[in-house]
Each structure stands twice: as structure tokens, then as C-alpha cells.
């Protein structure tokens, strides 16, 4: 028997750690999804640079959408800070051992890459901007050369991978939280981000068919993020390619989740107790129901049926994947805070 009584009563720490609420899962979700969008955009940019798919939707629109979504993620992160007026202190230093410091700088560079990428043909997709600021057109022309596109593509892919892995490493570096303390969280969040990105781009294609870009400021801005360029719909194979990629990403995510659990249940007492929080504890319904079934298995099944032409393409799998991606962050952030190193009952 081990009975511990404490007089400590600090908010956020007792009776169990509760330092991060909804803001961090939102930030991690958007961060992962943007990382996935950067990788997808980078791959598509390489195709554009080779002249294979000059109007590739997600090479030219995705960065702007990613840029806008990154603002949402960063806003959530800012809201979480308890000492908001000192946020600038992050950019006065680089702490090599701190994943959060690495992430802050990677985010800053990713901002720049997304902005530069969004410039590619933004004049076509958001005519108002090009009309009002002629320099935008000149910048677009400067970026849109095959060699610069290739450079941007590799920057997108490299920093996308870095950003996606960072969102997992941020948690896994915490030795005090056994549930998080696994390097698998890095690739898990990366592949979850990729599947969310594929779902988001798929959603954009489904909701807004191709048509001429609106001439107004607000309409043009939204169209630049969401609708395919020009009056034509994306190439016929685009949607199938996205769905196929999504099935692959989700499959890898499922394997990584299984490995995460396997690693925990075959480790020490603290890790086994942490795994139980997900397997049969307070977060089990959300883990099995929202993440594994509704967020991964069901979308895989639906998308395989879509690819086999058994059912028509719908937005349902994409919506499920997005909800599942957020649930993954929400559950892991909260369940991880509930996990702790267990004190030995014998000494």
C-alpha cells in the first residue's frame, strides 16, 4: 500500500496537471495540418515546375489557405499564454534543447515560405490584390520560374516535415508525462497532419467547383484560398489522388498509433498506467470511438469504397478525418496531462 497526502494546492497542478486547455490541441491540429499542406503543396509545385500540371490546385492555392490557417493556430497558441505581453521573448533567443524554441523559429520560417508560395499566381486567383498592388504581380512573376518553384517546393517539403514532427516532439520531450514520452508522437502527428491536409484540400475541391475568380476584395480573398484556379475544375485524377493519398496516410497513422500503445504497454509501470488511460480509462471512449473508429477506420473504409466506385465521392470522409485529427490532439494532450511517473510502493 502507498498512501500519499499532500498540502499542495496549486491551480493547474492539483489534483492533476491541467495546464493546457483547448488552445494547445487547436494549435497542434492546425500546425500539423499546415505542415501536411506544405508537403502536399511542395510535391504539387515540383509537378508544376516540370510542366506536368500547370494549374495544380493545391500548389497555388494551398499555401494561402495554409497561411490563413496558421494565423488561427498561432492565435490559439497566443491565447494559451499566461504572460502574453512577454511573447516577444521567444524571438530574442534560440534555446537548442527546447522543442518549443525550435518550433517557434520553424513557424516563423514556415510563415515566410507560405507567403512566398502564396505569391505564385495570386494575381490570377485574387485579381483585386494584383489590381490594387501592382508589385504583387511583379513578385509573382519573379517567383514563378521553374528553378525558384523547385526551391520553394523543397523548402515547403522540408519545413513541412519539420513542423509536423515538431508538433509531436513538443509533447514527447516531457519526461514527466509517460504517455507523451515517446518519439513515435513525432511521426504520428506528421502523418495525422498529412491526412488532415489531404482531407482539407479535398474538402475545398468538393465545396467550390472551378469558376472565374471573383473580382471583389473579400470574395477574391476567399476564392484564392478555396476555389480551383480558373473556370475549369481540377483535373479528373486530382480528387482520386487525394483520396488515395489520404488512405495511405491514415493507414500509416493507424500503425503508428498501434506502435505507440505497444511501446507503452510493454514498458514500465508508469507507461502501462498511462496506456490504460487511453485503452480503458477516462479517455477510452474518445480514443476508440472518435480517433480510431470515426477518425481512421471509417474514413479508410468509405474512401476505399469511393475509389472502387461502389459509392460516390462525398465530403463525409474528409469531415471525419478532420474531426478525428483534432480528437487525436485533444485526447493526447488531455490524457497526457493525466499521466505521471508512479512512485514506487516499496523502497
Amino acid at each position: 500500500m502507498l498512501e500519499i497526502t499532500t498540502t499542495r494546492h496549486n491551480p493547474f497542478v492539483d489534483p492533476q496537471l491541467a495546464v493546457w486547455g483547448w488552445e494547445i490541441p487547436v494549435y497542434l491540429f492546425f500546425g500539423g495540418m499546415i505542415a501536411g499542406m506544405m508537403i502536399l503543396a511542395g510535391i504539387a509545385m515540383l509537378r508544376v515546375a516540370r510542366g506536368e500540371d500547370p494549374e495544380s490546385f493545391f500548389s497555388v492555392q494551398t499555401p494561402l489557405l495554409g497561411f490563413m490557417l496558421m494565423n488561427v493556430g498561432m492565435a490559439a497558441l497566443f491565447l494559451d499564454l499566461a504572460h502574453k505581453l512577454y511573447v516577444w521573448a521567444v524571438y530574442l533567443t534560440f534555446e537548442a534543447l527546447s522543442p518549443m524554441s525550435w518550433g517557434s523559429w520553424v513557424l516563423l520560417v514556415a510563415y515566410g515560405i507560405l507567403m512566398a508560395s502564396a505569391l505564385v499566381r495570386i494575381g490570377d486567383s485574387w485579381p483585386w490584390l494584383a489590381r490594387t498592388f501592382p508589385i504583387v504581380g511583379r513578385l509573382s512573376a519573379a517567383v514563378e520560374t521553374p528553378s525558384r518553384l523547385r526551391l520553394l517546393a523543397f523548402a515547403n517539403i522540408g519545413f513541412g516535415i519539420g513542423l509536423g514532427i515538431y508538433t509531436g516532439i513538443l509533447l514527447s520531450a516531457m519526461v514527466a508525462r509517460p504517455l507523451w514520452n515517446s518519439a513515435i508522437l513525432g511521426p504520428l502527428f506528421l502523418f495525422s497532419g498529412l491526412s488532415a491536409a489531404a482531407a482539407m484540400v479535398h474538402l475545398a475541391i468538393r465545396i467550390f467547383p472551378g469558376r472565374p475568380a471573383p473580382q471583389g476584395m473579400v470574395g477574391g480573398a476567399f476564392a484564392a484560398m478555396w476555389q480551383p484556379l480558373g473556370p475549369r475544375a481540377p483535373r479528373a485524377g486530382t480528387e482520386n489522388a487525394l483520396v488515395r493519398a489520404d488512405v495511405g496516410f491514415l493507414g500509416v497513422e493507424l500503425v503508428l498509433l498501434a506502435l505507440l500503445l505497444l511501446g507503452l504497454v510493454t514498458a514500465g509501470a508508469s507507461q502501462i498506467a498511462a496506456a490504460q488511460i487511453l485503452i480503458s480509462g477516462a479517455y477510452a471512449p474518445a480514443f476508440w470511438g472518435a480517433i480510431v473508429f470515426a477518425g481512421i477506420v471509417l474514413p479508410i473504409a468509405l474512401q476505399l469504397l469511393e475509389l472502387g466506385h461502389r459509392i460516390p465521392h462525398t465530403v463525409v470522409p474528409a469531415l471525419l478525418v478532420l474531426a478525428g485529427g483534432f480528437a487525436l490532439r485533444w485526447v493526447l494532450v488531455n490524457a497526457g496531462q493525466a499521466s505521471q511517473i508512479l512512485q514506487s510502493a516499496s523502497r
Binding site: L2, I4, T6, R8, H9, Y86, E95, M100, M174
Partner: protein, 179 residues
């Protein structure tokens, strides 16, 4: 250069909480928060039970995860005494250090920055003991330089069996509890 640490005799500690009150008074700890606290631990199987009472606080670890995770360097190892300190006006309140600490030793000050035990460095610089040590009515707490072989803390560690908290976390805590 000194490396400060603390030795606490669990056979003498009665859990009176004088150390807690002294800390709150000395450091103006905000109401509803604490930098140190009392833990009562009962282990064994009835009727063979043993109880340990101890005063806990930040362990000023040699391998401090709170320092490693800090994105701004606000949490740092102070050269004087190699203690773990927080610079309030560099802390952004991200709370990563709270999550990283296996001892739950940190809290968010109502003004927004991470706060915790400082080993009363302001007193130590004046040659005094930390407030908690100085008020202990049973003299169960001892503060000193762990790198000085002749210090009282090293004499105690050499003469009695001791343990630290959660050594499996690998943080190398510098508060030692005499068994």
C-alpha cells in the same frame, strides 16, 4: 563554485508547516499557491506500516527538464549555487515547465509567469539560510554546498541512508531525504 542542495531528516520532521508559512511570508507567495508543502506518505501492509513526513519543493535538479523545455531561457540555471531560477520578465507563460516537472513544483503566478522555490537565493547571498530552513523548530532541514566535502549536508549524506524523489525520472534532484 558552490552547488546548493538540501538535506531533510524525515525522522525529525513533524509536518508542522512552519516551513510553508515562512516561505509564503518571506517570498510574498500569492494566496492559494505554495512554493513548498508537506507530504505524508504511508507505506506497507497493516499492521506493518511506516509513515514518512517530509517538506517538498523544487528539487533544483542537476538535470532540470524545466530548463531544457523553456523556449526563452527564462528558466535557467543560476551560476550562483547552480540553482534553477525563473526570470519573470522573460517568461511567456507557456506552462511547458509545469508539464515537464515530475514533482509538480511549479505554478503560474497570478501575474502570468512561472513561479517556484528559489532556495531563497536573496537570503543565501546575505549568508543566511533559506527561510524554510531557518524557522524549522525541529532543525530537520539542512542547506549547504554539495560540492564541499566538509559541508554539513555532505556529512549527513555520508552518515545516514537517504533517498531522493522519483530518481527514475533521471532529473538528479538535489533535495535529499534522510531515512
Amino acid at each position: 563554485m558552490a552547488r546548493f542542495g538540501m538535506v531533510i531528516d524525515t525522522r525529525k520532521c513533524v509536518g508542522c508547516m512552519d516551513c510553508v508559512v515562512a516561505c509564503q511570508t518571506e517570498n510574498d507567495v500569492p494566496q492559494g499557491h505554495c512554493r513548498d508543502w508537506i507530504v505524508t506518505e504511508v507505506r506497507g501492509t497493516y499492521p506493518t506500516l511506516e509513515m514518512e513526513i517530509r517538506s517538498e519543493r523544487c528539487n533544483h535538479c542537476d538535470n532540470p527538464p524545466c530548463v531544457y523545455c523553456c523556449p526563452t531561457g527564462a528558466s535557467h540555471v543560476e551560476p550562483f549555487g547552480k540553482t534553477v531560477q525563473v526570470t519573470a520578465n522573460r517568461c511567456i507563460g507557456c506552462k511547458a515547465c509545469l508539464a515537464a516537472c515530475p514533482y509538480g513544483a511549479r505554478f503560474v503566478h497570478p501575474e502570468g509567469y512561472a513561479d517556484k522555490c528559489t532556495f531563497c537565493l536573496h537570503r543565501v547571498k546575505e549568508g543566511k539560510d533559506p527561510a524554510c530552513v531557518s524557522v524549522c523548530p525541529t532543525r530537520c532541514m539542512h542547506f549547504g554546498d554539495l560540492d564541499d566535502p566538509k559541508s554539513e549536508v555532505n556529512r549527513l549524506l555520508g552518515s545516514r541512508k537517504w533517498h531522493t524523489l522519483l530518481p527514475e525520472a533521471g532529473t538528479k534532484p538535489r533535495i535529499f531525504y534522510l531515512d
